[in-house]
Amino acid sequence: MPVLLAGIVFSGVLRAATQGMAGIAGQREAIGVKRAMRTRLIGALLPTGPVRGKLVGEDLHVAIDDVEAYEGLVARFGPLKLAAVLSPLLIAFVVGFASWVSALIMIVTLLPFGVGMAFAGLAGKAEAERQLLALSRLSGLFVDRVATLPVVLAFGAEDRVTRQIGEAAREVAERTMQVLRIAFLSSAVLEFFAALSVALVAVYCGFSLLGLLPFPAPEALTLGRAFFALALAPEFYLGMRRMAAAYHDKQQGEAAEASVTEALKQAGARPGPSAMPMMPVRSLAAEHLEVTYADGNRIGPFRAEWQGPGLHALTGATGAGKSSLLHALIGMAPALSGVVKLNGEEVAPASLAGMIGWAGQRPLLLPGTLGENLLLGAGDEGADVLSLLDACGLSDLVGQRGLDLVIDPRGSGLSGGERRRIGLVRAIASGRPILLLDEPTADLDGETARRVGDLLEAVARDRLVIAATHDPALVSRCASVVGL
């Protein structure tokens, strides 16, 4: 009796220690895997979001939530999977010493169990993927509707948007239940066989001890041996039951992995920018450049040639594709065909990235100071941003708040025109030989626009500057005008 009691206590302590250590080891492993995965996703998704036509919220879900969902597969399901294969064999082997018939009963119940599990697993995979898709759409919807709340409120459309969110949320709940129904069914199959194996072992041992077996007793059983077999019977399926409890981790993890792989594949379809040596730019040309969107919409083909240095305008009716052409020149467009030539030689558009200073419609702001933000594109920090700020009429901003002004990345406190000019100063300060500017004088009053025009003319004395613009004053300063 004392040995039995000590054994019970000892096994409890041993189990607690080993399970705890397994959990911690699994988590450590997962942290490394997640970190690498997240860094890869940020690198692949952030610079290509618009190219793939994804909502910010959808990308966010992949880069953050899917990576978290993947954790369970590595940290919990992985170790349990191995344990689930080995532990029944080990238990059956040990039980075999006490009662080989009991061991046989356990192993026989495995066969129908395996068939049931395989069936449930196959059905579950597709459901889990559908659920993840609905979930990522819902997340995208939340981000979008919250971001566009000013418009929604201004038109009093919040009731309709709320209804839409409710419908999307219920759809996700429905899909989640479909995934869980299968997961629960497979655990039910598992539990049924676990219970069956305990019941069969108990009944066999009981009748054997009574001497009432309807067939000749295959082995001589004592109470101790019988009890040993019965006590271990639930353990036979425990490894698999724990694995089944982590089944949700597996489904979520695999679906997350599939979604991450798909996102990386889409992002990777764009050729990676190979570093091109910096060279003086004598000309840049686009021939038969054509952008095709996923829905078959087409922009182009474009034809243009710009001589450097000089200031050039890109004009054209709205929607003719000025922004698209600028993006296409650096390879940031879906399904791009045609040729880009630098100094007369064909180059991969994405490889031009390192020679381009870019100022778009909505410049990036990173947490940090105004000065740091202005120098984001600069290889060295020697650029004279103060005189550039002055030249485009931002000296008031600096005078008031200084270069050390801490930037709120949401850009609050800066007007649209100020933010635009921060992007412009950043592009000029980058020292890149080609500047691509999208509407550099939009949102500016006439006087400020004139000063920005002066600055661009000065910059264009030794660089190739291409500006998409509608501003006739800016167009009149340009050496060439390409109309689309």
Binding site: I8, G12, A16, Q19, G20, Q27, I42, T48, P50, G57, S139, G140, R145, A147, T148, L149, P150, V152, A154, F155, A157, E158, D159, I165, G166, A173, M177, L180, E191, F192, A195, A199, C205, G206, L209, L210, G211, T222, L223, A226, D295, N297, A317, T318, G319, I330, A353, W358, L364, L365, L366, S415, G416, G417, E418, S430, A442, T448, H470, P472
Partner: protein
């Protein structure tokens, strides 16, 4: 407030919740019964078998072996049903909580709404609401665990009072250990992880909007750096949680082992009953330790509740003015210091001034979306800040400078203007905004999916779609901020002519901000900042 929202949502699922509770109790009783009867049957059979053939023949084996089979089936079906119904109740309750929260947010004062980063709010509607799942499932876990423990105690009493006492003490110790350790070890880290997660998402949402710059200036490493602190925090907190969970769960296993040993050591009344009590004790302890999950989730739930409370308890905006029709017929006046411009109904005003003079701020204040313009604006005799968004949005239809579009189709965006917009009205507005041809040329026309923030349209097209939306709203005043920015001059002339005719036809007033000559002619007077 969030507790109330959750309560209301759960009430709608109460039938599923009750079924789940019933099944959970049934499954727990059957689980403990299965092991107890098995132990009793086995030991009893061994003793009877050892006492000779007569005793063996007299041993009633039919009832226990039938009981074993019945318990096995009940436990399996009970657990399956419990899981299904409890999760059903939880997920559908939470699916109702999300729109309810969004509605609270959208009904609050604009200043309270726009001070929240959108990524953060989205994370709250998503993962914070997810975290409440356990608060709903918990209602089912506790009755199940109690039923299992009670069954174990009954088996204990059969083996003598001291066995039952040992089990009771053991189960109590397990609860104390779980609650004490969970609260002390896990809470802070759960909070830390959630905070890191929120910051990470908010950051990502902000950077994602600037793909071209990130590509050109190779800013990915900078952004990975900018996010690194939050990532490190997230992972460190996660590891700490796992480590402490191992301690909490390990304590349960050790205590359960001691409990089973004590039940067995203190049992009297014969070997079969001792075996039954010990095995029942083990099963009861296992069912009981299911409560640990609840304890460990509790800080996560509380934390999410706290953050959601902030959103759920937002005060609704004051209602709109009693007499909007009268207000619509009142003049709108702008004043700054001594200067004042009065605009009669259906009048047209240009707001002028250099970049950065605060034109967007003035328009935002006029629309009730912000309050920080230094100028005073009156509708009739009432200052707009007194009227508030509810009244102002019934008076003014705006096409703002950023021309924000929702992710959806062209029609989705236009139908935002007001309920019950017809297709004919939509095409009419698109013609006026010089966009009908463009939309007709889209592969799916009005049903063309635009993607996030109208990503498929050029800047000028977005402006005009936003303008068409404002036209459709049918308000007495039209407020336009640089509507022709990004337009070529021919289209701009056409737009000016269309707008002028539309304003005359509908008797709508115009408040315009524009730097462009082509449109300034629309306005009869100017208010300079």
């Amino acid at each position: 407030m969030i507790a109330q929202l959750l309560h209301d949502a759960s009430r709608r699922q109460r039938r599923a919740t009750w079924v789940a509770i019933l099944l959970a109790m049934l499954a727990a009783v059957a689980g403990v019964g299965l092991l107890a009867v098995s132990g009793w049957f086995l030991t009893g059979a061994a003793i009877a078998g050892a006492s000779g053939i007569a005793a063996a023949r007299g041993f009633n084996y039919l009832l226990p072996s039938a009981g074993i089979r019945a318990f096995a089936v009940i436990r399996t079906l009970g657990r399956y049903g419990e899981r299904l119904f409890s999760h059903r109740a939880a997920f559908f309750a939470l699916a109702d909580v999300r729109p309810a929260l969004f509605a609270r947010l959208a009904a609050a004062e604009p200043g309270m709404v726009f001070s929240r980063p959108s990524g953060e709010v989205a994370a709250q509607l998503g993962s914070d609401v997810d975290a409440l799942e356990d608060a709903v499932v918990r209602r089912v876990t506790l009755p199940g665990a109690l039923a299992g423990a009670a069954t174990g105690l009954v088996a204990g009493i059969l083996a003598g009072p001291w066995s039952a006492v040992a089990l009771l003490v053991g189960l109590a110790a397990m609860r104390l250990a779980s609650r004490g350790l969970s609260a002390r070890l896990v809470t802070a880290h759960v909070q830390r992880r959630a905070d890191a997660m929120t910051r990470l998402k908010a950051g990502y949402a902000e950077y994602a909007a600037c793909g071209a710059e990130i590509a050109v200036y190779r800013l990915v490493p900078r952004i990975v750096d900018a996010m690194a602190a939050d990532v490190d925090d997230l992972e460190a907190a996660r590891l700490a949680i796992v480590r402490h969970e191992a301690v909490v769960q390990g304590a349960q296993m050790v205590l359960a082992a001691f409990t089973v040993a004590a039940v067995l050591a203190l049992a009297n009344g014969g070997a079969p009953l001792a075996a039954a009590a010990a095995l029942a004790g083990a099963a009861a302890a296992e069912a009981w330790s299911g409560l640990v999950r609840t304890d460990m989730q509790r800080p996560r739930v509380d934390d999410a509740m706290e953050r959601l409370e902030d959103m759920a308890s937002l005060q609704p905006r004051p209602p709109h003015h009693d007499d909007i029709v009268r207000l619509a017929a009142e003049p709108v006046s702008f004043s700054s210091g001594e200067r004042e411009v009065v605009l009669e109904p259906a009048g047209r005003l240009l707001i002028g001034g250099p970049s950065g003079a605060g034109k967007s701020r003035l328009l935002g204040t006029l629309l009730g979306l912000r309050e920080d313009a230094p100028q005073r604006i009156h509708v009739g005799t009432i200052e707009v800040r007194e009227l508030g968004l509810e009244s102002l949005r019934r008076l003014f239809a705006s096409a703002p400078q950023d021309a924000a579009l929702i992710a959806g189709t062209v029609a989705d965006n236009l139908r935002l203007a007001r309920p019950g917009v017809t297709d004919a009205e939509i095409w009419d507005a698109l013609e006026t905004a010089c966009l009908a041809e463009t939309v007709r040329a889209l592969p799916q026309g009005l049903d063309q999916w635009l993607g996030g923030d109208g990503a498929r349209l050029s800047g000028g097209q977005r402006k005009r779609l936003s303008l068409a939306r404002a036209l459709l709203a049918g308000r007495p005043w039209l407020v336009l901020d640089e509507p022709s920015e990004g337009l070529d001059s021919a289209t701009e002339r056409q737009l000016a002519a269309n707008l002028s005719a539309w304003l005359d036809r509908t008797g709508t007033g115009l408040i315009l901000v524009s730097h462009r000559e082509g449109l300034r002619g629309l306005a009869a007077s100017t208010f300079a900042l």
